[in-house]
């Protein structure tokens, strides 16, 4: 009976909107931030080593490269697409850098090689998805095998490790005090990504494409071009992540960064980016990156076996995604019975 009356009563419209403060309090980012703080507190209580600045600095290495992928992935997912080839782009870019280093290339050339290969791979993905109109999940599963396959053909069970000594700066260097170059770069990119997504016309168009591509195209948004650009961006981000990871490892094998595409997608989804496109923001993804980093590092300090760690991550993902849905449903019901 109450259900029926709920359907018949006009939609509930509040007399006034929540104040900005109250809205911020209810937002996904606040929830994530609370989770992050709770984890940090739990970690510092559980392990005496957690609050050491150098340890926290070391911990950032565990997630910055993935977080850079996640920043770019956020754009792709908001347009309603997905890029599963990012980890393979890392492998191919790293292989190219290794070959260049073998040929005697210096650090600047290696850096450009990594970014260049990333750009090239992103371009190819973009052509497949935006120009030929293939579904992104199919196209990028294909290029995922293709790019890593090439790396395997080139390297086999061999290794490239003749990187010049100063190449180590990208993955092992520090900008100042405990802040690594990787971490500072990530923060810088996060600010840039935030501005581009939230303060520019391009950013607005990205949302438009993800919400309703048809409506967007009727409104004059060049849907294909937007999609093409976001795939280019992920390619370059993967190239940059490849430079950092290769520099951090000081060597290249074709198995480098296996499985990272899912970590990047997980970070974006945990950050509140709707997998169907059209919703999400950069701040959430940045906090999600910290949450994942803090959890893995904290559990690592307690020597929790990795398998327990992945169960924990899975539960957390489900919980964080289910919680707002459950809350919303309860609210709706309360509203309906009122």
């Amino acid at each position: 009976m109450s259900d029926q009356s709920a359907a018949l009563t006009p939609r509930h419209i509040p007399d006034r909107l929540d104040s900005p403060f109250k809205r911020a309090l209810k937002s996904w980012e606040t929830l994530l931030m609370t989770v992050a703080i709770a984890i940090a507190i739990a970690n510092s209580l559980a392990s005496p080593y957690f609050l050491d600045p150098w340890n926290l600095s070391d911990a950032t290495f565990n997630f910055t490269e993935k977080a850079i992928l996640a920043l770019a992935m956020t754009f792709v997912i908001i347009t309603g697409e997905i890029d599963l080839s990012v980890a393979s782009i890392i492998a191919l870019a790293s292989t190219a850098m290794g070959a260049a280093a073998e040929a005697g290339a210096g650090t600047p050339v290696l850096f450009l090689t990594g970014l260049g290969v990333g750009l090239g791979c992103g371009l190819f993905n973009g052509v497949l998805v935006a120009k030929l109109g293939l579904p992104a999940i199919v196209a990028t599963i294909g290029t995922m095998s293709l790019y890593r396959g090439i790396a395997y053909v080139v390297l086999g069970d061999q290794v490239y490790k003749n990187y010049p000594a100063d190449f180590a700066v990208f993955g092992q260097g520090y900008a100042f005090w405990i802040f690594s170059i990787e971490f500072v770069t990530f923060l810088g990119l996060a600010v840039v990504a935030g501005i581009v997504l939230h303060k520019t016309i391009f950013g607005r168009q990205v949302y438009a494409v993800g919400n309703n591509a048809l409506a967007a195209s009727f409104s004059g948004v060049k849907v294909r071009r937007i999609k093409f650009i976001v795939f280019l961006m992920t390619g370059v981000a993967a190239g940059l992540a490849s430079v950092m990871l290769t520099s951090r490892l000081g060597s290249t094998r074709p198995s480098i960064a296996v499985g990272w595409e899912l970590d990047a997608v997980t970070m974006a989804v945990l950050g509140g980016v709707g997998i169907n496109g059209g919703t999400g923001n950069i701040l959430g993804v940045v906090i999600a990156a910290f949450v994942m980093g803090l959890v893995t590092f904290g559990l690592g300090l307690l020597n929790v076996p990795g398998i327990v760690m992945s169960i924990f991550m899975g539960l957390m993902l489900i919980l964080v995604i289910a919680l707002p849905l459950v809350v919303q449903r309860i609210n709706n019901r309360r509203r309906a019975t009122r």
């Binding site: 510092s44 080593y49 957690f50 070391d58 690592g300 300090l301 990795g306």
Partner: protein, 331 residues
């Protein structure tokens, strides 16, 4: 800062202070493996605990990633550095990619050694091989000779690929020690390419070609199983003895069937025991990792480092009807 936060920070600091001196007494040795949930490494952990008990003031941290990747192992290393462990003994997923992380560990005063699967020399103090090529070669021929007893007989080798470096080195070493075993008459070497069916057929070929064949040495875990199966299928149990290097879990059935009297492989328990012992001795300054240095490893005796700071632990461990079941549960 709110009162609540202040409280939490002070509690954390207090715990940090309490935990500090309590842990400082025990030497914390991390046994880092390629992946967790692998029987071989669990057995090594058992050995490490045995060593810890003997040494007294040692705490073993048994850890490793879920996936056998270098990146995941580096995350583990980073968390061990953060915990300020005293030593890391690692079986590496990647010889080179771990070097920067392990170098950092060494810079922070952690003793780093590798065992089983090694790290490039700049990333560790020393590497412990389970055995050495001469010891493996000798053990293979010895097992064949023991199986023959007093009589003299034809013996053949079933190898993996003809290009497999380690196989060829072992065969070379076997040939070197042949003069010491008068009853072994080596007649042939065939290659099964580490494929079960090809190894099986090559064994059938050997049986047909050499009627006086008394033993087959297969220094490969795939070949030895296929050869034992072929001998059983040909009804030659008791006449042809299959030996070499194999895994207890795969060979237990064939030992029971009688096609293999005994075979060898390294003992993971001994390996974990020795790695722990060496890490402890190096940390305590009782031994030094430099070429020609000797390190004593408890019940395993002594090892001697070569020019690359590598050492061989011992003869491969022999498995026969008496112990194969026990180890088959492990690996």
């Amino acid at each position: 800062m709110t009162l609540f936060k202040k409280l939490i920070v002070t509690t954390a600091a207090a715990i940090a202070l309490m935990a500090g001196p309590a842990n400082a007494e025990a030497v914390k040795i991390a046994l880092v493996v390629k992946t967790l949930g692998n029987g071989f490494f669990d057995a090594a952990h058992k050995g490490a605990q045995e060593a810890a008990k003997e040494l007294g003031d040692v705490e073993i941290i048994y850890t490793g990633p879920t996936t056998s990747t270098a990146e995941a192992q580096i995350d583990v290393i980073n968390s061990l550095i953060a915990q300020k462990v005293d030593a890391i003994a690692i079986s590496a997923n990647d010889k080179d990619a771990l070097v920067p992380a392990l170098k950092k560990a060494m810079q922070r005063g952690i003793t780093v050694i590798s065992w089983d699967s090694g790290v490039a020399p700049e990333g560790r103090l020393m590497h412990l091989n389970p055995s050495s090529n001469p010891l493996i070669g000798n053990m293979c021929v010895k097992l064949a000779s023991d199986g023959l007893g007093s009589e003299k007989g034809d013996v053949a080798i079933l190898s993996a690929a003809s290009t497999a470096t380690n196989q060829n080195i072992w065969i070379e070493e076997m040939k070197k020690v042949l003069p010491n075993y008068a009853n072994v008459n080596l007649v042939d070497t065939v290659y099964g390419d580490d494929l079960a069916d090809k190894s099986y057929r090559e064994t059938q070929g050997l049986i047909a070609k050499y009627p006086n064949l008394k033993a087959i040495i297969a220094p490969t875990s795939v070949g030895i199983v296929a050869a034992a199966q072929a001998v059983e299928d040909a009804g030659l149990v008791g006449k042809v003895n299959v030996t070499g290097l194999g895994l207890p879990s795969e060979m237990a059935g064939h030992v029971k069937a009688g096609s293999s009297k005994a075979f060898a492989i390294w003992n993971p328990i001994d390996l974990g025991y020795s790695a722990t012992y060496i890490a402890y001795e190096l940390k305590a300054g009782k031994a030094e990792a430099k070429p020609d240095a000797e390190i004593s490893i408890g019940r395993m005796g002594k090892i001697k480092l070569d020019a690359n700071n590598e050492a061989a632990m011992a003869d491969p461990f022999v498995y026969d009807a008496g112990n194969v079941d026990e180890f088959a549960k492990i690996f």
